[in-house]
């Protein structure tokens, strides 16, 4: 490796690096729950996030099962409404917003920039506790009667008409928002001031760029939705309709303020995934990311432009036509930075030395799904067409392609890529590869039919559709796909956990990847590095030609 390292972190261990890594450094429950180590907090996040993903997935299963029959005879309407709200709220607020930044970002941002920890480790721990509190409150609200307002909590339904546990759930979302803010502040301060010597802005891995951009959105958007939801809690508690017309309030204002956050929130979910994909594609193609600067700046462009498009959720909500036009234009322009990323990733693969390991398969799957997700966004950005398609299953399919196809595939790719670094163990790559294919196919089977039923006008959040049986075939296909997808998400849990006990020791750099995080041991020590790294080489300094030659020589000698 061309990166030179010097200056031992701890003089005692300079000659003999300590045997302890971050996992073995303390075994008590206390050492985990009160840890300030970003890596341990990432593991805490991983466990809680996986739990909520499984829970949200179970609710999704209930929805899919219910919709196989047009008559809706499995659940009551009230129950169904609570189920889809629980699915949406848990998946959005407790999984998607948190998964990649808080698990992979927490673990990797300090490692990648050569820091010993995040800037504010205690605040990092606080953010996990806030998240746990948020999760607990949302869970209590779901268990003790449920919430039926939909995850968007549109007023006046959520404020004056719903008699479910909306307030409790909103307090949960509010706390989750603060968890998000603290993570964002931490990332920003860390990236600004904690970089190792020589780690200039343009030597930052793209994953760090993506998390930096995400931090900006978290900090600027989240407080707005926090105050909005606080107002809804206020409305419910004091019977003071701020967003309801009873006293002259404006229900559309709630939508404005909600989407001011919730649209950029989509980029909180998907930008870190973009970062993961940049890393994975570069590492497994053994080639520097094509157009590094364009990919880096497209992240920032997405973060900033993302704040100017929220009104495209409201084309038919009676907002002003003129503002709608502006939002539509910026939305179309926002498609460009995403396109830049896709094209650059594709070009990265050209003339690489591509290893088709499981993270790469997930990354290729990501590209396929995100292409569809992004391109169907154009249908919805075209204002005229949005009039027909909005709030139908077309929307449902579109955002699942972006959220599941984008975020979850990115998360899976990242988790598989850095699993050896996190645990020091190798999982069964063959099973993982086939599982990635299964997830890709199952996903398409689940959500592609929803595009068709949405184009045919099936409204979202419908409990039954006996009056429109022509939608049934697509719902049945979708449910079949969901079953496959469910299997595809259970299998990794099994082989990843199995790898913890029976997996081969991975060594420091099992994938042959470049980057500071691969230069320390697997798992890394609590201080991340035995030596303070000084970066002297460029990011993604791969050489596909040399590697290819080397492997050919190796092959030739073997014969």
């Amino acid at each position: 490796m061309s990166t030179t390292v010097k200056t031992p972190i701890s003089t005692d261990d300079a000659a003999h690096p300590p045997k302890l890594n971050y996992l073995t450094n303390g075994h008590s429950l206390r050492s985990w729950l009160l840890t300030e180590d970003h890596k341990r907090i990432a593991i805490l996040y991983l466990i809680s996030v996986s739990f909520f993903f499984m829970l949200g997935g179970a609710f999704a299963g209930m929805i899919r099962w219910e919709l196989t029959s047009p008559a809706g005879n499995f659940l009551e309407s009230d129950t169904y409404n609570r189920v889809f709200t629980a699915h949406g709220a848990i998946m959005v607020f407790l999984f998607l917003l948190v998964a990649v930044p808080a698990v992979l970002g927490n673990f990797l941002v300090p490692l990648m920039i050569g820091a010993r920890d995040l800037a504010f480790p205690r605040i990092n721990l606080l953010s996990w506790y806030l998240y746990t509190a948020a999760g607990t409150l949302i869970l209590i609200s779901v268990v003790s009667g449920g919430v039926d307002a939909g995850w968007t909590f549109y007023t006046p339904y959520s404020s004056l008409y719903s008699n479910s546990n909306v307030s409790l759930c909103l307090v949960g979302v509010f706390l989750g928002g603060f968890s998000s803010i603290t993570t964002g502040v931490n990332f920003i301060a860390t990236v600004h001031r904690m970089r190792a010597p020589g780690m200039t802005w343009f030597r930052l891995p793209l994953f760090v760029w993506a998390n930096y951009a995400t931090g900006i959105i978290m900090m600027l958007g989240t407080p707005v939705v926090a105050i909005t939801l606080l107002c809804v809690i206020f409305e419910r508690t004091f019977q003071l309709p701020i967003f309801s017309p009873e006293l002259g309030g404006d229900p559309i204002l709630f939508q404005h303020m909600f989407w001011f956050y919730s649209h950029p929130a989509v980029y909180i979910m998907v930008l870190p995934s973009f970062g993961v994909i940049s890393e994975v594609i570069s590492a497994f193609s053994r080639k520097r990311v094509f157009g590094y600067h364009f990919v880096a700046f497209s992240s920032l462009a997405i973060a900033f432009l993302g704040f100017l498009v929220w009104g495209h959720h409201m084309f038919v909500s009676s907002q002003s036509m003129y503002q709608g036009v502006a939002f539509s234009l910026i939305t179309f322009l926002l498609a460009v930075p995403s396109a830049i990323k896709i094209f650059n990733w594709t070009a990265t693969m050209a003339k690489g030395n591509i290893h088709l390991n499981s993270p790469m398969i997930y990354a290729i799957g990501f590209m396929g799904l995100f292409l569809i997700g992004g391109l169907t966004g154009l249908f919805l950005a075209a204002m005229g067409l949005d009039v027909h398609l909005t709030a139908t299953y077309f929307i449902v399919a579109h955002f699942h392609y972006v959220m599941v196809g984008g975020t979850v595939m990115g998360f899976m790719a990242g988790l598989h890529f850095w699993w050896p670094k996190m645990t020091g163990r190798l999982f069964n790559d063959n099973i993982a590869k086939w599982n990635a294919v299964v997830v890709f196919l199952g996903f398409n089977l689940t959500f592609f039919p929803q595009f068709i039923s949405g184009w045919m006008g099936m409204p979202r959040r419908y409990h039954y559709y006996y009056f429109a049986p022509e939608y049934q075939i697509y719902n049945i296909l979708s449910t079949m796909g969901a079953t496959v997808l469910g299997v595809g998400f259970v299998v990794p849990v099994i082989y990843l956990i199995k790898s913890l006990f029976t997996g081969e020791k991975s060594g420091d750099n099992p994938w042959g990847a470049h980057g500071l995080e691969w230069q320390t041991t697997s798992p890394p020590p609590t201080e991340n590095f035995y030596y303070s790294p000084i970066v002297t080489d460029d990011v993604y300094d791969y050489d596909p030609v040399a590697e290819h030659e080397a492997s050919r020589e190796l092959g030739a000698r073997g014969h």
């Binding site: 339904y157 559309i252 594709t346 690489g352």
Partner: protein
């Protein structure tokens, strides 16, 4: 297996269907081209440059400004093109033509009240004549709903507190789905029914044969009845009486100047606001003496009043309260609680009984069309 049982697109039955479908399939075509080309490259590279293949890897490229500019430029141009196209379609959808036949819609949990110009009312079913511009003026009584007719490719939210509009021109006779497309509570899925497009002759017949309805007052008639009942005419006579009360005759469409200097055109929303909160946009030269009717009148009542004022506020019967120039000093509403007009029968038992009368009618839309084909 008959493929017609598994349609891929909704029936196209309005003036918007053509342009929207064209836009849809154009974007679809472009998307397919982009997706296929890009993903084909991904797969192609993944195979060609897989580790161990003997492909030529010499002189790899890491940055190429020209290439970057091309794939920034081409999507940008395409995006702006589709933006303009989409915005044009949107403008068509949002701006109703002059002379459209106006139908009033009130959404409430969980049913649609629909009132035709001549007073025929229906719940959860909308009868419209073919090849006629129809404008819906909509308002919600409780939460936000959305009025959605997939076959017409139109949808708009129905918001409490303000009127929203939607228009379309049905082009094909038939029966189509009507949905509420904004989640509105427990029975959200139930809130809908069908839109029945009839030939003009059938529609006229349907309107006149509607014997089922007791005392079908048109909104204008109901509005007049209410107008007299709550004593609007005590103040608002045929002539302006500043500073107390302007005449409402022929008010609709006029430009009104408020006392803060703003000018408004007296449209539906202006009239509604002036009934509910008269002090908000005080007419220049008048003082705020009118009682506030916010929460005193239901949306149906306000809509009836609005329709009456819109129709010119001309008395059709010799009304005892219309003594011009005799301003009632106490234009008070005595029967606030007992306010009742025929327009109110929306909320009577009979109307509510039909709330869940969506009916187990499978013969809607494409399925119906398909069945019809088989019969023939």
């Amino acid at each position: 297996m008959n493929l017609a049982n598994y349609p891929f697109s909704p029936p196209a039955a309005s003036n918007f269907a053509g342009e929207m479908d064209l836009l849809f399939y154009s974007i679809l075509g472009m998307s397919v081209v982009f997706a296929v080309i890009t993903f084909a490259y991904v797969i192609f590279y993944a195979i060609k440059y897989r580790a161990g293949s003997s492909a030529d890897r010499s002189s790899p490229v890491y940055e190429n400004m020209k290439l970057e500019l091309i794939w920034i430029g081409v999507p940008t141009v395409l995006a702006i093109g589709f933006f303009i196209w989409g915005a044009k379609v949107y403008a068509d959808v949002r701006i109703p033509p002059k002379g459209a036949k106006e139908i009033y819609v009130v959404g409430k949990q969980w049913m649609w009240h629909i009132q035709h110009p001549n007073g025929v009312r229906e719940n959860n079913t909308l009868h419209v004549p073919v090849d006629t511009d129809i404008k819906l003026t909509m308002i919600a009584q409780d939460v936000i709903h959305a009025f959605y007719i997939p076959a017409f490719r139109v949808q708009f939210m129905v918001v409490p507190g303000r009127y929203t509009q939607m228009w379309f021109r049905p082009t094909v006779v038939g029966k189509y789905h009507l949905f509420c497309n904004m989640y509105c509570g427990t029975q959200h899925s139930e809130m809908g029914g069908s839109v029945i497009v009839m030939s003009k002759r059938d529609y006229a017949e349907w309107l006149s044969n509607n014997g089922e309805m007791r005392q079908n007052l048109s909104p204008t008639q109901a509005g007049e009845k209410l107008f007299n009942k709550i004593g609007c005419g005590n103040c608002h006579g045929p002539v302006d009486l500043p500073p107390r009360s302007p005449s409402l005759m022929g008010l609709y469409g006029k430009t009104r100047e408020a006392d803060n200097g703003q000018r408004y055109i007296a449209d539906e929303s202006y009239i509604r606001e002036s009934i509910l909160r008269p002090g908000e946009k005080m007419l220049k030269g008048y003082s705020n003496t009118m009682p506030v009717y916010d929460k005193q009148l239901s949306e149906e009542e306000v809509m009836a009043l609005m329709a009456y004022i819109k129709a010119g506020a001309l008395p059709s019967l010799p009304a005892k309260n219309m003594a011009a120039g005799v301003p009632g000093t106490e234009a008070q509403v005595n029967g606030k609680a007992g306010l009742n007009s025929n327009a109110l029968e929306f909320t009577s038992e009979r109307a509510d009984a039909t709330a869940t009368s969506r009916g187990n009618d499978l013969s809607v839309g494409a399925m119906a069309a398909e069945k019809g084909d088989q019969k023939r």
